[in-house]
């Protein structure tokens, strides 16, 4: 049997057992929670953001406990799980607080610090995501922390802006060693239709707040890719947000074994060379959708979607309940393959260079 793939990674000089960490969020609020995750196989944690005692904070934006108990938990985790990486996530409101928190986490034994420039729930100017949107504050607070600790510093970014490279560069100027992204996207998850209160409903009031889950993953990928392509930035990146598929350790191990990838490092940045501008596409090459009708269950969704939003290239055989493709009308938009409930029934087929598509019918 081939050698088992190695899931360990190096990041900011530390070795991680695998590339999976709990993010600073409600799931990393105490050593009890974190310990359970370590038992399940997670390689480390960005411990739930701590703030100075008496800071004007809304749970679950940050830890619900005082600084001391949290520092005891971090010290406990490092002692009990020496091979696991514990990152102290901190968020101050003023320079002094940033320094105090950085020193506390360093003294507690944290391996690295994550500077939370991105909490979506802060209302005070100069705090949370408002820092991440203000380059000079990012730089100033990073510099402050840099002065009081030798631990690696990761700046955690908010996606609630147009270009993440600017604050990331500011963090680098302040002395950050890495960037993590993304924090949550500002949004309103739902409005109660009975009371018109945006959810979550806090005794009759709702607020724009941090939205997470699978919908934010494409947004996260975009920001990570933009920073990875920025040669000037050139910092290690920690990707966060919306990841929910795969039984991660088993899934990644099997994937690497199947694809003959020996180390996780070999996968980093693999998609970047293929990420282009749409203008770079080779529009001379053409194709059509191709149907394996032996697999068809006869739902007709392909017909409807092609008629209503595609090339109107399908006809519907009512008797057989099967689509019939007019190949020369197909736009190769592949929207039919997105709605088809059967895996692998509709695939893309490249057509020869001299193939000519018929234009969509014009009325009038």
């Amino acid at each position: 049997m081939a050698k088992k793939p190695d899931l360990s990674v190096e990041f900011c000089g530390k070795t991680f057992l695998n590339p999976f960490l709990l993010s600073s969020s409600p799931v990393s609020n105490s050593a009890l929670m974190v310990e359970k995750s370590f038992e399940a196989g997670w390689a480390g944690v960005a411990y739930k953001t701590v703030v100075a005692d008496n800071a004007p904070i809304i749970h679950p934006s940050t830890s619900d406990r005082g600084l001391k108990p949290n520092m005891r938990d971090i010290a406990y985790l490092k002692k009990r799980w020496p091979k696991h990486v514990v990152i102290g996530s901190i968020m101050g409101f003023r320079n002094e607080e940033w320094a105090e928190l950085a020193v506390a986490c360093t003294d507690a034994g944290a391996d690295m610090l994550e500077l939370n420039f991105s909490c979506p729930h802060m209302t005070v100017e100069g705090s949370g995501a408002k820092v991440g949107q203000t380059d000079h504050l990012v730089e100033k607070f990073t510099t402050t922390v840099r002065k009081v600790t030798r631990l690696p510093l990761i700046a955690k970014m908010t996606p609630n802006l147009a270009d993440m490279n600017e604050p990331a560069m500011a963090a680098k100027r302040g002395g950050a060693d890495a960037i993590s992204a993304i924090n949550t996207v500002r949004g309103i998850s739902e409005v109660g239709l009975e009371d018109f209160v945006p959810k979550p409903n806090v005794f009759g009031k709702g607020a724009i707040s941090g939205y997470s889950g699978p919908a934010v993953k494409p947004i996260g990928l975009r920001f990570i890719a933009e920073m990875a392509k920025n040669k000037e930035l050139n910092l290690p990146l920690s990707g966060i947000g919306g990841i929910q598929t795969w039984d991660m350790i088993e899934g990644l191990t099997d994937y690497m074994a199947l694809h003959n990838v020996k180390r996780v490092k070999d996968l980093v940045g693999k998609a970047l060379p293929h990420l282009c501008e749409t203008g770079d596409f080779d529009l001379k090459r053409q194709g059509i959708s191709s149907y394996d009708l032996d697999k068809c269950v006869g739902c007709g969704q392909c017909y409807v979607v092609c008629r209503d939003s595609g090339g109107q290239a399908l006809e519907w055989n009512e008797k057989k309940r099967r689509p019939e493709l007019n190949e020369d009308k197909c736009l190769s938009c592949m929207v039919c393959s997105f709605v088809c409930p059967v895996d692998g029934l509709i695939t893309f087929k490249e057509m020869p260079a001299d193939w000519k598509r018929r234009e969509t019918v014009t009325l009038g």
């Binding site: 068809c296 269950v297 006869g298 007709g300 969704q301 017909y303 409807v304 059967v342």
Partner: protein
């Protein structure tokens, strides 16, 4: 538990909202939905499941109710595996959408949230018509016809011979399959359309339909159902312990479970037939405490008209299926008390006109089963064409009487509730087109 309690509540649980939404989420949203074509009553599951899936729950309820006034009853009782669900494209992925359960859910949900699908703006209602129409029989066909006519503004009176409306839904299906409270609510929905209902008002005898026409009803729809027992041989008619299925099931619905239990508890029972009604009888006999219940069927499992899940449930409840056995007659003592059933083994021969292989008696294999009370499934199909059925057009429900229409079991012989619902709708449209023509002339 008192034996009567075992007949008062439906045993199969309905879906709740989360189950229904999850099930609707499996729907493939087919183009020209084949399930809709599979519904004899035109309930249009393709449309109501799509609405449910996109959380337009009230709209889904409205679709069911407008298309099928007995949508709830059909959701519970329809043999969906051979109608809508048989056509479902999701079967190609894994298994059909549970359409019957969704339909039942929508109707039960409408009661739960107090949604009244027929409460429309007055301006949306069709103009009130002055013509009166009489419907004879408050079973599925009659109720469906009445609803369709009332929704189109006609004045409808339903005459029902029995004390309660519902026909077979009330008196022919055991309560553990379809309970009275459910039916009552569904009939309340119907009455909200303005239908007048007169129970305990039999309209029978020669010329009853003509009399209604003379009284000013412009049309009469006859949907009395089939209640007369199958003609038994003269010497068997009064055997003690022998029931027709209708006598047996009606007695249960009339609250006589205790009384029936006395003659069935601890005894050996036999039920003749392999359809849905036979299953209902056998399962009822189990609930009444019979020591052993035999189901006598002259063909084999594959030819049984009852649905597979009904058959399985019946077998799981301990009913013994005696297939390939043809009942020949009954044994009785000198006091006229049933003592047994004479049987003969059969084999399956060539296919008959129903497409099923025909049972052929095996000579010299006669035997008898010594059961005491016996229920007999009401209408062995052989005798259907004769006796008491009304002839009416399949497409218009017209009878030989001018202004007279008929549908449901009294025309078809024993058949599905959902087909009776269709007959009611067909008759209503036929009546409307006749009255429109007259109004126009």
């Amino acid at each position: 538990m008192k034996s009567s309690d075992r007949f008062s509540r439906m045993e199969e649980k309905g879906f709740d909202l989360s189950q229904a939404v999850a099930e609707a989420g499996r729907c493939l949203l087919c183009h020209e939905p084949p399930c809709s074509k599979g519904c004899p009553a035109g309930t249009d599951p393709g449309a109501f499941i799509r609405k449910l899936r996109f959380r337009n729950i009230t709209g889904a309820i409205r679709t069911v109710k407008k298309n099928n006034i007995l949508g709830g009853a059909c959701g519970v009782l329809c043999p969906t595996a051979r109608l809508c669900e048989k056509e479902c494209c999701a079967t190609g992925i894994d298994r059909p959408i549970r359409i019957g359960k969704l339909q039942r859910f929508l109707i039960e949900h409408s009661w739960k949230i107090g949604f009244k699908p027929f409460d429309a703006d007055a301006s949306e209602r069709p103009p009130r018509r002055k013509e009166k129409v009489a419907v004879v029989g408050a079973g599925p066909a009659g109720l469906s016809c009445a609803a369709e006519l009332a929704a189109n503004g006609f004045q409808v009176t339903v005459f029902e011979a029995r004390p309660e409306p519902g026909g077979v839904l009330r008196y022919g299906v055991p309560g553990f399959r379809f309970q009275t409270e459910f039916l009552k609510k569904e009939i309340d929905d119907l009455l909200s359309l303005g239908v007048e209902l007169k129970c305990s008002t039999p309209m029978t005898g020669d010329g009853a339909a003509e009399k209604l026409l003379q009284q000013g009803y412009r049309a009469v729809f006859l949907a009395t159902g089939l209640w007369k027992p199958v003609r038994l041989k003269k010497d068997q008619r009064d055997l003690k312990g022998l029931f027709t299925s209708m006598e047996f099931l009606s007695a249960l619905r009339e609250g006589k479970a205790g009384e029936l239990s006395k003659s069935i508890k601890g005894k050996v029972c036999a039920v003749i037939g392999g359809g849905s009604v036979a299953m209902d009888c056998a399962r009822s006999a189990v609930r009444l405490g019979a020591a052993d219940v035999y189901l006598l069927y002259r063909r084999s499992l594959a030819q049984m008209p009852a649905e597979e899940d009904e058959r399985t449930e019946t077998m799981n409840e301990g009913v013994h299926f005696l297939t390939l056995n043809q009942p020949l007659g009954f044994l009785a003592d000198s006091k006229g008390k049933l003592k047994g059933v004479k049987l003969i083994r059969t084999t399956l021969g060539a296919r008959d006109s129903s497409g099923r292989r025909k049972p052929v008696e095996v000579k010299g294999t006669g035997w008898s089963l010594p059961p005491v009370p016996s229920a007999r499934s009401a209408y062995p199909s052989l005798k259907l064409e004769r006796g008491g059925l009304i002839r009416a057009g399949e497409k218009d429900c017209r009878t030989s009487l001018r202004g007279g229409f008929a549908g449901g079991d009294i025309v078809r012989g024993p058949d599905l509730v959902v087909r009776a619902v269709r007959d009611g709708k067909t008759a209503a449209r036929s009546i409307m087109s006749m009255l429109d023509q007259k109004a126009g002339a």
